[in-house]
Symmetry: C2
Subunit: 505 residues, 2 copies
């Protein structure tokens, strides 16, 4: 049995290696690849993904997993051995449903879709990306059909990102949120735009990058195991527990890129703090995408927009951008950073209205997948919902339906995890604060290790050994609960959370 387990480990190590190579290809495609390389890259990714899929679906792996059932049962469910076998079986069972040809096609279409999205965004021409959206949706339908779902087809795509969560559960959570969010958005719009003048202007990219890196360096990033690159649509990719790649996008006209970088750090820290014993196994990933987003949103919003954090790092920003900030008080800057007002793009939405951007996309995705919305009508449907939920009319495709890469990139079903991540981030934050004590006092001194350590201990190190549901229950004693999040937003809207007095919330 020990030999069978060793064979399993060796097979899984190779699968994991190839999966990381695929991550490298995505990272390169979106950060460094010359545009003319896109066609060849699409073929290369399709080939690699096919090889990977063949390994994942190898019948010999299936029988090995069967043979290991007694071995699994002889170990505690949370042991490395039982966890590895359980997770490997889940992956294998899902993989065998999908023919290798389709896996390759999905990869090829995602690469080509990404490249078309870049061109369409630049040319402001939906016609460029439409055939790719159509192809992607067609392939996603084929994919869904492999699982012959009894209920909602959306369940299938959701499960890839949020294992075990159903569309109905997401819907219930989003239903709980939608009315209060709409009311808050309306109230924010009615209250007027507020003052964030200090965040508009001209901010040299290099200075923004230095500010972001100065903050991240205090948060735990180092040159030995991390790097930061430029991209169009920010993302995090890890090649290994000790090889974390953040990518961001710095626009000279605003400071969004700094916050995006803090966001991606949250993803990176999760991967960086996994138990090293899980290296080269399928356990070396976050529990789910919502858990991953909980980490990115926690560092971006709950830490990155916090007054105590900026008490510590605002002098750095002022030193890097003296012409812009020497005469701006910390309080003015912090208020601007936390201003609540409906905006056109999800990526730089304030915390309060952010959820509506996600709900809008979730609703559109469901319509698309159910065949009730034609992709040709998507831009109009997107704009209509923007008007309805946020009272805004996208003036361009880049500020409308093409602002996100996900549908070009084949990531149908991912969007909900952003909002679920927000919800979970507040649940985790409350728990962390209860455990650690006053975080603001520490942040003001530039001490972020206690929070990072808490997250490693309670969230990160487990990897995929626990399901997202088990992990959340273990930490908070509850399931996904939108109430703390809503309360947080209410306080934010009321201007109470944003700038807490030292020592208070």
């Amino acid at each position: 049995m020990k030999r069978a387990f060793a064979e399993l480990r060796s097979r899984l190590a190779e699968i994991e290696d190839l999966a990381r190579v695929n991550v490298l290809m995505r990272w390169d495609t979106e950060t460094h690849m010359p545009p003319a390389g896109a066609g060849a890259r699409a073929e290369q990714r399709a080939t690699l993904v096919s090889v990977l899929h063949d390994r994942r679906t190898d019948p010999a792996l299936g029988s090995l997993l069967e043979r290991l059932r007694p071995f699994e049962e002889a170990h505690a469910p949370e042991s490395f051995e039982a966890s590895l076998i359980r997770v490997a079986r889940r992956d294998h069972d899902k993989a065998v449903r999908v023919p290798t040809r389709l896996r390759g096609e999905l990869a090829r279409a995602a690469s080509l879709g990404y490249e078309a999205w870049l061109r369409a965004s630049e040319a402001e021409d939906y016609a460029i990306v439409l055939p790719h959206f159509q192809r992607n949706l067609e392939l996603r339908h084929e994919y869904v059909a492999c699982f012959a779902p009894a209920g909602d087809p959306y369940d299938v795509v959701l499960d890839d990102y949020e294992p075990g969560l159903t569309t109905a559960e997401v819907e219930a959570i989003f239903d709980r949120l939608k009315a209060p969010l709409l009311a808050m958005a309306r109230a924010a719009a009615a209250a007027g735009p507020g003052d964030d003048d200090c965040l508009r202007g001209s901010f040299p990219r290099d200075a923004q990058r230095r500010v972001a890196l100065a903050i991240l360096s205090a948060w735990g990033m180092d040159d030995a195991a991390w790097r930061l690159d430029d991209t169009v649509h920010p993302f995090q990719a890890s090649m290994a527990i000790a090889d974390i790649r953040l990518s961001s996008h710095f626009d000279e006209s605003n400071l969004h890129g700094v916050l995006w970088t803090l966001h991606e750090f949250g993803h990176g820290l999760y991967e960086r703090q996994l138990d090293v014993a899980y290296a080269r196994t399928p356990l070396a990933h976050g529990a789910s995408c919502a858990f991953h987003e909980s980490q990115s949103r926690l560092w971006e919003n709950l830490v990155g927009r916090r007054l105590s954090t900026w008490r510590w790092c605002y002098p750095t920003l002022q030193a890097e951008l003296p012409a812009q900030f020497a005469d701006v008080s910390l309080e003015t800057f912090h208020r601007a950073l936390n201003r609540v007002h409906p905006s056109l793009t999800r990526g730089d939405a304030d915390e309060v209205t952010y959820g509506l951007h996600v709900i809008l996309r979730f609703e559109l995705e469901r319509e698309l997948l159910a065949g009730r919305l034609d992709l040709r009508e998507l831009p109009a449907a997107f704009d209509a919902k923007m008007r309805e939920y946020l009272g805004l009319d996208p003036p361009s495709l880049a500020l409308g339906v093409l602002q996100d890469v996900h549908w070009a990139d084949m990531m149908f079903g991912y969007f909900p995890t952003y909002l679920l991540g927000n919800i979970v981030s507040v649940q985790l934050w409350e728990r962390a604060e209860a455990d650690i004590g006053d975080l603001d006092e520490r942040f003001e001194r530039g001490e972020f290790a206690p929070l990072a350590d808490w997250l490693r201990e309670h969230v990160h190190r487990f990897g995929r050994t626990l399901t997202p549901h088990e992990l959340l229950r273990r930490i908070t004693g509850a399931g996904i609960d939108a109430d703390p999040y809503l309360a947080h937003l209410e306080r934010k809207l009321a201007g109470q959370t944003g700038p807490p007095a030292a020592g208070g919330r």
Copy 2:
């Protein structure tokens, strides 16, 4: 038969895709990877190379190639079909000699060796890299044994870079060169160091990079299909015919990085100008490493050190580095750039003494592979030959045995191709000039397309359809001939080649 050929193409396309993925991994390892990622990367490369090797050695591929013999014979030897089958058979026949396990080990050891070499160079500590050199040599011996060579074991490693060429042939060529090179080196040393003061000082990296890119842009590089990154040991890597990656190293104290960049461009142009019909086939590579080096050395030296070229681009250098060059005449700069004087490092050696650096390494490699030289004695043996051939005593490991990455990187057998490339570059140059007419007149006007076009037409587009021997014979009517090269060097030493009068050589 057509179906069998289609199946062959499909198999070869997947093999080629995976091979390019491996190139991407190398590129990333040497340009962007955070150092702590090295361990995981070594495993990932080993896994990928094993997968690739399994495909290359698949018995089904072997029988397909057998079945296609009549099909091959029904096509002209230079046809796409016959060439593809012939080259694929050669690759398959070589691959099946090597067990997959050993292939994986070689890849793993090369990655780990590279990383150790970086650390050893920085720490100036041979002990760090010695066990890796030892492991590499051991694995290379295992590799050689797979081919059970009748003659020199060096034949086996050489054949991977220079198909069809034997060690004895290389030896004969180098023997022809060695005495004249030693005499020239001695003459150069005796003539005194010359004046290259203008090339020493402080040259900001960004300015150097802009100069290099300005030149390369006129030579045919564009942003759509090329990029330039930083690395420690410059190299070129192509992910596809339309995805060419140059990497270089700019040191603020000299301008070597500019010339290295021009060198790598020569490699890149070869890959960029391959016949696009060969994409995703094993034909989409240069004919051999010597041919590749002939291209890099041609652009670096025969074009990049030429007076007519600098007549055109010296104003750019002066504009980018006014403090350094405003008061330096073109003639002074050009004389400095072509100064002949023994130097410690191969990478920035002058054209005349360059060959001795290669011969020295070739001789040491042969001793190592034959087991006549112990790796522990390598630094001393290296230094002794430096004294003997160039009259210099390396003051450090970084300027001595650790200046090149090849032995750490498993590239035993590569060095000779540098010198062979130099020889071939002069043979090609004479042919090109005879065909095109006066190149200097064109270069002065910034016109490099006629040369690039000639190279595409006569060298690049063929890829691997012709052996290096056939290709050289077709272009020059002769085999590798050291005489034109020696004559070129004699003129260089005499100060006659370097600064030709307009219209002259």
